[in-house]
Amino acid sequence: MIRKFFAQAYIWLLLIILYAPILFIAVFSFTESKVLGNWTGFSTKLYENLTQGSLDGGSSLMSALQNTLIIAVVAAALSTLLGTMAAIGMFYLRGGKKKAITFMNNIPIINPDIITGVSLFLLFIFMRITQGYTSVILAHITFCTPYVVLSVLPKMSQMNPNIYEAARDLGATQFQALRKVVIPQLIPGMVSGFILAFTMSLDDFAVTFFTRGTIGLDTLSTYIYADARKGGLTPELRPLMTIIFLTILVLLIIINIRQQRLAQRNELKK
């Protein structure tokens, strides 16, 4: 009993420390004060500002949010497409080629953000690609796709190889067999790959920072960085972060509960 108490106390103490700054932001999203940490009475004005888009800092926060979402959706979708095709192909590759592509697939995973960012920055300069939306999306595809490949590949190996052959024997063309038999089995891997790519793109700072060029393209991360360097965060960031945080919390809990239920159902079937 005592051991259990200490074990749980330790877990909750860590959690409290981990969440203190987030809670701090959430609490101070309900006051109007410009300075974080200065309570000037309860107010939902910051939330109203956010929904009406009438920010003190102009609408730049909203356009940064919009850029972040567009880049994340486009990069995640393209990564999922490229990564799924790659995983199907990689599964049938053998020997040196397989080793080579697996090694290359690991490069963006092992590289820290700053190396990915700096090296892609040099690439875009070398290739004379003007940096902006395109270069940021290409850069995000670069660091997202390896994770899609890693989520889809296990689904390829779990698949019964005979069903593809069966479809072909029954007269399906190669493309039909892939589309109607193989792809449906890969969908769970593709979905988790997409979610992973989406969240990584949302969270990225360093790679975007180096590849966005000088046209003034801001995502949420670069906006926050510039804001903090100027001294003082735009107050509306507080409610925005609170909303993002709660959304992710609810999503993750729902996904996990669903997975547990699925797992239990599978157990029962056995």
Binding site: A7, G37, A86, P108, I115, L252, N256
Partner: protein, 257 residues
Amino acid sequence: MAVRRYTWSYPYFIFLAIFAVLPLILVAVYAFQDAQGHFTFANVTRFFSDSNALNTFAVSIEVAIENTLICLLLGYPAAWILANKKYNSSMVTVILFMLPMWVNALMRTLATAELFNMLGVGLGKGTLLFGMVYDYLPFMIYPIYNVLNKMDNSYAEAAADLGANPMQVFWKITVPLSKAGIVSGILMVFMPTVSTFAISEFLTNNKIKLFGTIIQENINSSMWNYGAALALIMLIIIGLTSLLSDNEEKEMEEGAL
């Protein structure tokens, strides 16, 4: 004529050649060029005679080692408790530990810095370490938890049946079996810590610079060649660390057979 299925990986092959391999080659090329594009060792020798850069480098390695150790010391017990059915049966606590990984790291860091400001704690080495541990602890807990959770409990039970006390079971069975998780946890914390920028600026009020920051400063002030040389040095360290951990993994696989 049917297309061979492995050819589906070719577009990605080309993509990786352009966006993963070529950029690294370019880092090396730029590192050994001067601003006019002539070959030179000057950028590399400049690093070794630049006491400022050398100092920053040493501080970064030191902070990264300290951060990794603290994360391991705090994270291992947490992962162990979370994976232990006796102490924790709910998935929600596990999710709660993973959740901060999905929240913008810059925002979390700034919130930590502001919290310290409000509490009147001076920003410096201590707050830097706290903020780093705070940012990277989930990355240590997650891989260790995964390994512990999948671990076959019968080994520990067998050891206990054969007379090992709980401490012996822990040190001789649990820890060695979770080595893979520890290694990947260390990698996931150590490498990003060496290379962070922005985080250290915010947590120390620009008092302590890390290696990532000087790379960024050089690139942003158009000193691409020196910046590339610094990035190359970091790449070499990463290459060495991942080679070491590869050896570890191979040894473990051999041990498992």
